[in-house]
């Protein structure tokens, strides 16, 4: 086998342009497939995490504010929409609802009064079951009136260095707050949101130029629902919408699905491109190998004359194909990884805040699958020429090669 490797190496050295053409085709296919696989999984992981961290099975919003609500929930756009808080009681008694809590959505001013324009969300630290559990994991006490919980991605914009954020004083609408804790990234609007005590949220709108009519305590923006065990959120949501027409009930699946569709389209395009490139690479490798074998027919016939068995000739060609495919696959993974690693910010910019690293085990799996795809392409590309040449009689190969 060492001798076969040596012959393969020498032959590849002889035709570097042809070898690099084949490697290039495989690199293109593998890099695209690898990027598509990592992005796809990254988005799936993000959606899963987002669903888990949303904490609620259903988010109920005013029917006429559906789009605004989606924008706030998904991307953290600063916005305001309200409904009477009395609706929460109606929702709480709806079939299948186990628990509810509410939040109020405000905008801050991007002016001297405030550090930046961000979405401000007031929540009840006693009743809330969406933000509170995460806060209590990090701090021993529920949120105080003068404290803030800050989203993972907005913290840098507010205080500069996240490491020094805890305890930092921030001004919002003329009122001083200190940062109690920072939330883990969710991939959702919470990453760009500042959470505060619900009472403070109401107080802050008094005298604010943004809210000429202050938001009253009987107004809320969203009702968050935890459904009873064994109940399907979709059924509960449909029931709420049917019985309370002024409300729109969005399940966590709907929420994540609505913004993942576009991203999935992008990933689908990448997979299709990767598939096409793989096909192209297969044709390229197959043709170049067929050409190479045709050019080397006399040489391979001579090997047979010198005592090489058919299997040795077959191994020689397949090994050469595997070397090319392996090199192409490895380079493809490296280039794909570089694209993802160095283009992280661009990808995040392109697909919103939905990109999360899919985790090392999946990364390893993607590397192995990409390499396997490369090797299969190489084997398939080399198979026909290998079978053809090894089936010829030595003299026939020599004669055809002349």
């Amino acid at each position: 086998m060492r001798q076969i490797f040596y012959l393969v190496r020498q032959n590849l050295k002889r035709k570097p342009f042809r070898a690099w053409m084949m490697i290039g085709g495989i690199v293109l296919a593998c890099a695209t497939l690898f990027v598509a696989a990592i992005l796809s999984r990254g988005i799936q992981s993000t959606l899963q995490t987002a669903r888990e961290r949303l904490g609620a099975d259903i988010v109920v919003v005013p029917a006429d504010a559906r789009e605004e609500a989606l924008s706030a929930l998904i991307s953290g756009s600063p916005t305001s929409f309200f409904m009477p808080s009395s609706l929460e009681e109606k929702v709480r008694t709806a079939p299948g609802v186990q628990q509810t809590c509410s939040q109020v959505y405000l905008r801050s001013l991007d002016a001297a009064c405030c550090v930046a324009q961000v979405a401000l969300v007031g929540y009840d630290p006693v009743r809330d079951f969406t933000i509170n559990p995460w806060v209590l994991q990090k701090t021993s006490e529920p949120l105080q009136a003068n404290q803030l919980v800050v989203g993972a991605k907005v913290i840098s914009a507010l205080v500069g260095t996240p490491a020094k954020a805890i305890g930092q004083r921030l001004m919002f609408m003329g009122k001083p707050f200190s940062v109690a804790t920072i939330l883990e990234p969710t991939g959702l609007g919470t990453d760009y949101t500042v959470f505060l005590h619900m009472d403070m949220a109401y107080q802050m709108t008094q005298g604010s130029p943004l809210y000429p009519v202050p938001v009253k305590k009987d107004q809320i923006s969203t009702i968050l629902i935890k459904v009873a065990d064994g109940m399907a959120p979709e059924t509960v949501a449909a029931n709420i919408e049917k019985n309370i027409p002024e409300l729109k009930a969005l399940t966590s699946n709907q929420l994540t699905r609505s913004f993942s569709r576009q991203l999935q389209d992008l990933v689908d395009v990448l997979f299709v491109a990767g598939g096409l490139f793989s096909l192209l690479a297969l044709v390229l490798v197959g043709n170049l190998f067929a050409l190479s074998v045709r050019q080397r027919m006399r040489e391979l016939g001579l090997f047979r004359a010198m005592g090489a068995r058919r299997s040795v000739i077959f191994q020689l060609i397949i090994l050469e194909a595997l070397c090319i495919a392996g090199a192409g696959g490895l380079l493809g993974v490296l280039i794909g990884f570089s694209v993802i690693w160095f283009g992280k910010d661009i990808i995040t910019e392109m697909i919103g805040n939905m990109y999360m690293w899919p985790g090392n085990p999946y990364f390893l799996k993607a590397v192995l699958l990409t390499m396997a795809a490369a090797l299969v392409t190489g084997i398939l590309g080399g198979l026909y020429p290998a079978c053809r040449i090894s089936s010829l009689e030595p003299y026939e190969a020599i004669r055809k090669g002349e």
Binding site: R2, Q3, M306, S311
Partner: protein, 237 residues
Amino acid sequence: MIQVEALSKDYKSVRVLQGINWAIEDGAFVIVTGRSGGGKTTLLSIVGGLTRPDAGRVLIDDTDIWQLSEPDLAALRNEKLGFVFQFPSLIPTLSVLDNVLLPIAFGDKSPNLEDLKFATSLLEMVGISGKDGQYPAQLSGGQQRRAAIARAMIKRPAIILADEPTGDLDEKTEAEIMDLFQSINGQGTTIVMVTHALDYAKIGKTYTLKDSHLFPYEDSEASPRDLTRGGELRHDA
């Protein structure tokens, strides 16, 4: 000993060899002549296990080589036969020394120090010592042919089959190469050579291939039927 019995071969319905009966004793120097396209190379490649005949048998040391399995036939080519072709047959990506050692690589073992020494001595014998690290493109036609002869001898084969080994060489080099073959034959190796160069007919027993039949050269004007009818086996040394 090589024995050929009732050998026939067609190429695309053209009869190239018909009913050839032939015997070559160990240590013989046999030359086959004939017009171009007359089937000389085909005969040699059938004897060398490179082309399957349509009919007949080839026995080398009483083994019917065309009854052997593919690996066994490959092993026979590797162990017992050495080939020198009419075209430059060195592998361009390998050095001269690697080319010479190639049949060993296709055998049962990797080349060892002893093989290396033998290869070097062969290169010296064929007159191209010092060229072992060079590549075929750096050698002249004659030097390439000498390297190919050294390669044919690396496994110490009992038989060397040479197909027009001097076809594209100048007269001086041709004479040197033929001397080399004579010297190899002098060491006991059977040489079967296809050539146009009738000047060398005196070296060994010469045959001519005409109208798909093989005759001793001196009988070549005789009717083919006289020599092959009845499948008589001719023993020549």
